[in-house]
Every structure is written in C-alpha cells, then in structure tokens.
C-alpha cells in the first residue's frame, strides 16, 4: 500500500512540475486523489485506490460522485459568459468574412487593372482582414467550427516554392506547373493543401499574403513584389498567378462564412445552438482549452519561441508582409476579449457582456482577477515587441527586441499556468473537454 501512495505522489509532483495545460485538464482525478491523501486521509485513499483499482478503474470510476458541480450562481454566470463568448465568436467571424470580401474586391481590381496603387490597396485590404481573424484564433483547438477548416485558412509557415517557383530553387510551383495542373480550380487548390506535409500549403491568408508581397528580402521592410507580376504577358504566367490569387481569396471567404454561420444566433442545429445547450462546465472547458492552447503551445511556443531560437525569418507568422507583431497582438487581444466578455470589431458588431474570467471569479475571486490581469499584461507585452518582427529576433539576447519577445513569452506562459489552475478549479475531465456537442 505504501508503495502505491508514493507512486501516486511522485506522479503528481511530476505533473505539477509541468506547465502543460492540456494534461492538467485530464489529470484532475489522480491529482485530487493525491491531494486528498495529503490532506489527511492518506491511508484511507491509498487503500481505496489499491482495492478499487484491482476491480475498477482508479481514474474516473471510484471517485466519480465527487466531480465538481457548479452552484446556481456559478452556473448562471457561466451561462452568461458562454452566451457572450458565442456572440464574440459570431461577431469576429462576421468581421473576418466581411473584410475578406473587401480583400477579394481589391484583388479583382488589381487583376483587372494592375498598377502600383491597386497592389497597395489589395495589401491594405489584406492587413485589415487580418485583424478580426487573428482575434478569433482563441476559438481554435477544441474541434470547434474553425478547426474543421483551419488548415486551409491560416496555416503557416508556408513553403512558398510549393505555390510558385522561386529564384535559386529548381522546384516548379503549382502556378508554374502547367503540365501537372493545366487548370487551376478551387477544388484543385483545396486538394493540394498540405499534401506533402504541414508546410506544403496552397491556400489561406499566408498564400494570399505571399502572392501580394512576395518574398521578404529586405531587413527594413516587407516583400516588394512588383505589380507587373499581374500584368498579362505572353507566357500566361501572370494570368495564372492572378487566377490563383483570386481562387485563394474565394476559398478563404467560403471557409470563413461557413464558420460564421456555425456561430450564428437563432439557427437551430448549428454549432452555437449545440454549444450553448451543453452543461456549462463542459462548454467552459472548451473555451478554456482554446485560451490555454493559444496562450501556451501556439503563441509562447510556436510563434515566439521558435523564431526566437532559430532567428529565422521563415519562422515568423506573417513573414512576407512584416505584419507579425500586429498578428500576435490581435491573437493576444482575442484572448483578452473572451476573458473580459467584450468585442469591438471592424464592422457593426460590438459585444459587451460577462467574460470567461468573470465566470472564473465567481468561483475563485483571486484566481479570476489574477487571470484577467495576466491576460491584459500579456497583450501589452506582445504589443511592446518592436516591429518588424524579423529584426526583433536578431542579435544578442540583451537586444531590446529579444528582451521584449522573452518577456512576452514569460507573460503568456504565466497565463497558461493560471488557465491550467482554472481547469483544475472546475475539475474538468478529459472526456468532457473532448466530446463533441
């Protein structure tokens, strides 16, 4: 029996040492058992565990009755927070779809009459379209509506030579390869996306970005693709490039509209209806997983740490347009939006309501307040990274850009840890976090 207890404790300590949000969601039962053990009933729990696990599963069955419940007040605040959350999602995707339509219109003008002004306007439209979309990334990571299309929408980094041949790389891209792909269609682009791995990307924001800016070879500015790339020539390449660009923008719109509709109010049978019909604690678990995954593995890990460690421009999120710092800041702001229950969009949509952090505060005032302040602090830290990002990552670790990135990483990891604490507070079990509504 002694052996079992110590094994349990060792496992819990190992877990406490990790910051992993997702594993926290899952390991609550074992953790609780160990904590109760420490609280005084050590021997009893150990015996129960030992006996119980011979016949029954220790992780969910033996203590199933003690799963966290929400009080009426907690439940009602959680429901309000979830309704606000859904409204923010709908507003964010509505703005994303709307600004993507504006982008398509600008692309059409560029293709119809390519000149420097038309290209500049298309680039501005892309930059405007990015803002609302990045603020919705907090709705990813739990098999929600965006996760069904995200690989087509915002995958990065992209291997641009997959799309178009580049100087010094002998590979033919999709645009150049008229033999393999005589006709460019949206079905074709969609089928080629991620076909050769996670950077063989043929669709989405960053493909459009590449087609508007081209490769960024300048230390102090973004890529400078000439508008003449869209002026019809004898080889037909410009026409194919234009067609590709237009198809990519159209695909983006259709994906964004499908996600928008999934979050639309008053549509029986859509995702929002199912989401809000769940037990509040289950829906809250999904919202928390989105916030935690974006804060930790995605922003702190893949978007900041990888670029920081490799000092490689290709590892920055929007490497062609040099928009990375804005992208990151809007990601962080999206987390703050759902935390505080507010949204101020590009379009008509403005939401003010109960935030996820308010729902947390009803259960644990200190944790709710701490989480909210950490999340706001990380927005500021991310905003303080000097643009362009591809320069901020360079130099010695004491260089201002690298210091700023490091401090943004720390801030994001801090909130990831607190989000894990929140998950523990609600005692969220994995099956709830992963079950489909």
């Amino acid at each position: 029996v002694k052996q079992v207890v110590s094994r349990c404790e060792a496992a819990t300590d190992a877990r406490a040492a990790g910051l992993q949000f997702a594993s926290e969601l899952q390991t609550q039962d074992t953790k609780r058992m160990a904590l109760e053990g420490r609280a005084g009933a050590l021997g009893l729990v150990a015996v129960l565990l030992t006996l119980g696990s011979c016949a029954k599963r220790p992780s969910a069955g033996t203590l199933a009755g003690s799963e966290a419940r929400l009080s009426d007040a907690e439940s009602s605040t959680a429901r309000q927070a979830l309704a606000t959350y859904a409204s923010i999602a709908y507003a964010g995707y509505s703005d994303s779809a709307m600004t993507a339509r504006t982008l398509l219109a600008a692309i059409d003008r560029l293709i119809a009459a390519p000149d420097a002004a038309a290209l500049a306007q298309a680039r501005s439209a892309w930059l405007l379209a990015r803002k609302p979309y990045q603020r919705t990334e907090v709705f990813r990571f739990y098999d929600g509506p965006i996760d069904r299309v995200e690989l087509r929408v915002n995958t990065w980094p992209i291997d641009e030579s997959y799309v178009e041949a580049e100087v010094g790389n002998p590979r033919l891209g999709i645009i150049d390869d008229t033999r393999a792909y005589p006709e460019l269609t949206s079905v074709l682009l969609s089928s080629l996306n991620a076909k050769e791995g996670e950077t063989s990307i043929s669709t989405g924001y960053h493909v459009v970005e590449y087609l508007l800016w081209g490769k960024d070879t300048h230390p102090d500015g973004p890529g400078d693709r000439p508008f003449t790339d869209y002026v019809a020539g004898t080889d037909g390449r410009a026409a194919r490039r234009g067609r590709y660009l237009r198809l990519a923008a159209e695909l983006l719109i259709s994906d964004l509209e499908s996600v928008r509709d999934a979050w639309a109010p008053d549509r029986p049978g859509n995702y929002r209806a199912a989401f809000l019909a769940r037990r509040p604690i289950e829906a809250l678990a999904l919202a928390l997983k989105g916030m935690g995954s974006l804060s930790g593995p995605e922003l702190a890990g893949e978007r900041l740490t990888v670029a920081y460690e490799t000092k490689a421009q290709e590892n920055e999120h929007s490497c062609f347009s040099d928009n990375t710092v804005n992208d990151l800041a809007d990601d962080a702001l999206g987390i703050e939006n759902v935390c505080r229950g507010r949204y101020e969009g590009a379009g008509r949509a403005v939401v003010h309501g109960t935030g996820v952090c308010d729902a947390v505060a009803i259960r644990n005032a200190e944790l709710g307040a701490r989480l909210a302040s950490e999340i706001s602090a990380s927005v500021e830290k991310v905003r303080s990274i000097p643009a362009p990002f591809d320069q901020a990552i360079l130099g010695a670790d004491t260089a201002p850009g690298r210091v700023a990135i490091q401090s943004a990483v720390s801030a994001l990891e801090r909130q990831t840890k607190s989000l894990a604490e929140v998950a523990a507070l609600y005692d969220v079990r994995s099956s709830e976090a992963s079950r489909q509504p």
């Binding site: 052996q3 079992v4 094994r7 060792a10 496992a11 190992a14 877990r15 040492a17 990790g18 910051l19 992993q20 997702a22 594993s23 926290e24 969601l25 899952q26 390991t27 030992t50 696990s53 011979c54 029954k56 599963r57 220790p58 992780s59 969910a60 069955g61 199933a64 990571f141 739990y142 098999d143 996760d147 980094p157 291997d159 030579s161 997959y162 010094g168 790389n169 002998p170 590979r171 033919l172 991620a194 050769e196 791995g197 996670e198 950077t199 063989s200 995954s293 593995p297 890990g301 893949e302 740490t305 990888v306 460690e309 490799t310 490689a312 290709e314 079990r429 994995s430 099956s431 992963s434």
Partner: protein, 454 residues
C-alpha cells in the same frame, strides 16, 4: 514470454494489477498524457519538459514540419534535400505527427515506402547494387526518380466461427518506370507506412533489463509466444545493441531512427549517416551540390531528438463505457496482452533526465514475434527474420481516424480497420486470433471498442 508471470506477481503484490492489464487507466503515457482528442492530439509536448527542452521541442517541431530545399538555397539551415527522396518533410508522412497510409488504388506510393534488399550476412539488409536499400520515388530536377511503386490487392475471404463472413486484402507491389535499369532478380521488398510518433521517448526510457525479462526466445514457458530482441548496430558506438524502433526493431534509439529516416527518406545527411542515399551506380546523383557536411546540423538534430521523444500520448476516451471495459478484459483473456503488454515502467533518460520513472501503458513489449506467413515480407533485418515484426504500441490508435482521416493499420496499411488488423495476426498470435474469431459478434465489437478507446 517467460517473465510476464513473475512480473505480474510482483505487480500484484506491489500495486494490484490483475492479470497483465492495468485496468482502465486513462493516462496511457503516465504524466506525459494529454487530454486532447482533436486533430492535434498527437502533436502535444509532454508536461514534464524543462524550459530549455520545451524550447527545443518547438524548434524540433518546426524542422519536422518544414519542406527541405535543394542545395544550394538561400536558407542554409534547411537545404540538402535529395538528390533522391521519398518526401520533402517529415510531416509529409507523419502528418500531424500521425500515421501515413497506403496509396489510393492506381496511384503511386507517396506517403509510405518500400525497403529493398538482397540476402546478406547477419541478416543485415544488403541493398540492391543499383537501387540501394530503399526505393525513392522522387528526385531533384534533372535526376531520374528510382521508380514508382504501385500496390495491387487480392481479396482473401474468411469467416468467423459464427458464420459471419469477412474479406481481407493481400497486397502485391509493382515497380514501374525504373530510373536506373533492372533491379536484382529476387529482390526482397518490405513496404512500410509511417507510424504515429506519440510516446517514443517513453518507449526509449523503458530499461533494457525489463525488455530482457519480457523476452522468451525459446518459449520456455510454452505459451506459444517467444518474443525476442533484435540486435542492431549502434552506429555511433559501432556495437551491436538491442533494437526497439522501426517495424522490425531495426533501430536502437529515436535519434538514430530519425537520422536514418532523414537520410533514407529525405536525402538529408547527418553526423550518424554522413553518406548520401544513392549508390555509386546511380550516376545522375553523383557530384551534385550538397547542403553542407553534414546537411542536418547538430543543434537541429538535437532539437528533433527532443521533439520526437517528448510528444505526449493522448488520454484514452470512453473508459466508462461498459463495452470498452468488457473489451479490455477480452484483450487480456484472448491473449493479446501477451505481446501487446499493457504496462511498462520508464526510467529517466540520460539526456532527458526530467522524464519520470513511472508506469506507462503502451501495449507493446518492443520485441520481435513471428506473425506468420500472411504478414511476412521475407526480408530479414538483422536478427529479425522475414516473418518477424516488432509489436507496435497501440496507444493513440483510436485517434488516427481523427488526426489522419483514415483507419489503415499494420506495417503496410493493408488492414482497412482494426478488425482486419486483428484477423491478419498469425504465427505466435494464431491462438489469440482463433479465440477472437470464435467470439460472438457482440464480444468482437467490445474488443474493437476497447481498441478505439486507446
């Protein structure tokens, strides 16, 4: 499988494990378990990583995903692709860190590959004098690819004891458009899909002594199961050591396995495998620019090594379902757990000391077993003969459908689902399979429900 009895007894005394299964554990990877059942389920870092290793994990991840370029390229860190290659990136086959699949009917193989050889000493695979030991279906511009590999299937009918019929498909491989002339007569071929990468570090962290105890090469306990260890070269030390990774346990460590894949599959050389993957007889490949010596720098290899060993294992789902519990019991009763050992115990790794010593539930013994003539590739790999395969871990298998959108199983993806994979088992697993086919339908469904919960 001699040691299992002793082991079970010990475990029962210590911590109450009935038969060989640890009943109903959701945390398959111990503290390296993640509650993620989304399409990102295989790509999560283990919670115990130190901050420095966590950074390395993300760097490794980025190199795992990116497409390598032909040398010379302006981005020196990632050039050196080819000249012959199967894929441009690791993630092409291990998409989302998951499992690859056989080609569609009529399409050439692209996310799996064909090992080839002629017979040699110590079973060491001796490559074809022209094509080497693997067919690469892609090449840099100006270089002929080696061949296109096609697969044809023959349906083989069978029936459960209750009369319900089933059909399995047996593959045959065809080489077309050979780029460098004829292959050796009697060429031995072994098709391989890319397995999911979850929990590899945990498998490396199982002490050798434990695997030795599980082995029973002469079947002294007469249970019909005679697991044995492969003995393979440790290329850095130049010694023979137990193998534990790869479909025939041809590689002793994750770093060596990764380096071997880099050179064979991508044409990226490393400190472990400094020679390009073509033979002297493939003239078009000679004297091309390379991406450095080696092409895979030591820092990147180290980061990949952390990454590939720190991918966490997804938690089991639906363990409350009575059908799943029943299936888990059957898994033990039928004898599946004789090789797919549910519980092993880790010890910290030398270069990842934060990896804790704890129980894990991979459902493998990492040993070689004779699986019979039906699955045999007849191509030896060191001690592994043509009928032997290493028991693959089963953790995460229920999520492949989610992550990779298919359910193909076994080394060549011939099984279209878990049931077909069970039915292909023969040799040492013949009696377990016979007990499965004798089950009533509802019980068979229970076993499959258990497998889907992993």
């Amino acid at each position: 499988m001699r040691a299992v009895t002793t082991l079970v007894l010990t475990l029962t005394l210590l911590g109450c494990r009935k038969h060989s299964a640890m009943p109903h554990a959701t945390e398959s990877g111990g503290s390296a378990t993640v509650a993620d059942a989304t399409r990102d389920a295989f790509g999560q870092p283990s919670g115990w990583l130190t901050e420095a290793h966590r950074r390395a994990f993300f760097v490794g991840n980025s190199f795992f995903n990116l497409n390598w370029l032909a040398a010379p390229a302006s981005v020196v860190d990632r050039d050196g692709l080819g000249p012959l290659f199967n894929a441009r990136s690791c993630s092409a086959c291990h998409f989302k860190d998951g499992r690859s699949r056989p080609p569609d009917l009529g399409a050439p193989m692209s996310t799996m590959l064909l090992r080839v050889s002629v017979p040699g000493p110590h079973g060491a695979p001796v490559g074809d004098p022209v094509y080497g030991d693997q067919i690469q279906g892609s090449a840099l511009p100006g270089v002929p690819p080696e061949a296109e590999v096609y697969v044809d299937y023959t349906e083989v009918a069978g029936a459960f004891d209750d009369g319900e019929r089933y059909s399995l498909r047996k593959p045959r491989y065809r080489l077309e458009h050979l780029g460098y002339g004829a292959v050796s007569p009697g060429l031995l071929v072994s098709p391989r899909v890319a397995p999911a990468l979850v929990g590899l570090g945990l498998l490396e962290a199982v002490p050798e002594a434990l695997l030795e105890r599980l082995a029973d090469p002469d079947d002294r306990d007469h249970d019909g199961i005679s697991g044995r260890q492969n003995r393979v070269p440790d290329v850095l030390r130049g010694t023979l050591v137990p193998g534990r990774f790869g479909w025939k346990a041809e590689q002793p460590s994750v770093v060596q396995q990764s380096s071997a894949a880099f050179v064979a599959d991508l044409g990226i050389t490393s400190s472990l495998f400094p020679a390009e993957n073509h033979t002297p007889n493939e003239e078009a490949c000679r004297d091309l620019p390379n991406g450095g010596t080696p092409e895979l720098g030591p820092d990147i290899l180290a980061a990949i090594g952390i990454y590939a060993r720190a991918l966490a294992v997804p938690a089991r789902r639906n363990v409350d379902d009575p059908l799943v519990s029943r299936g888990e019991d059957l898994f033990g009763e039928l004898g599946c757990a004789g090789c797919h050992v549910p519980t092993l115990r880790t010890a910290p790794l030398a270069d990842i000391p934060e990896l804790p010593a704890e129980d894990i539930h991979p459902y493998t013994d990492l040993l070689l077993h004779d699986l019979g003539a039906g699955l045999a590739d007849e191509r030896p790999a060191f001690e592994a003969d043509g009928r032997e395969w290493r028991t693959p871990p089963l953790w995460g298998m229920g999520l492949v459908k989610k992550v990779n959108a298919h359910e193909f199983l076994l080394h060549d993806g011939r099984a279209r689902n878990a049931m077909e994979a069970v039915l292909w088992h023969d040799g040492e697993a013949a009696s377990a399979r016979a007990r499965f086919t004798a089950l009533p339908r509802a019980e068979r469904q229970a076993l499959l429900a258990f497998l889907a919960s992993l």
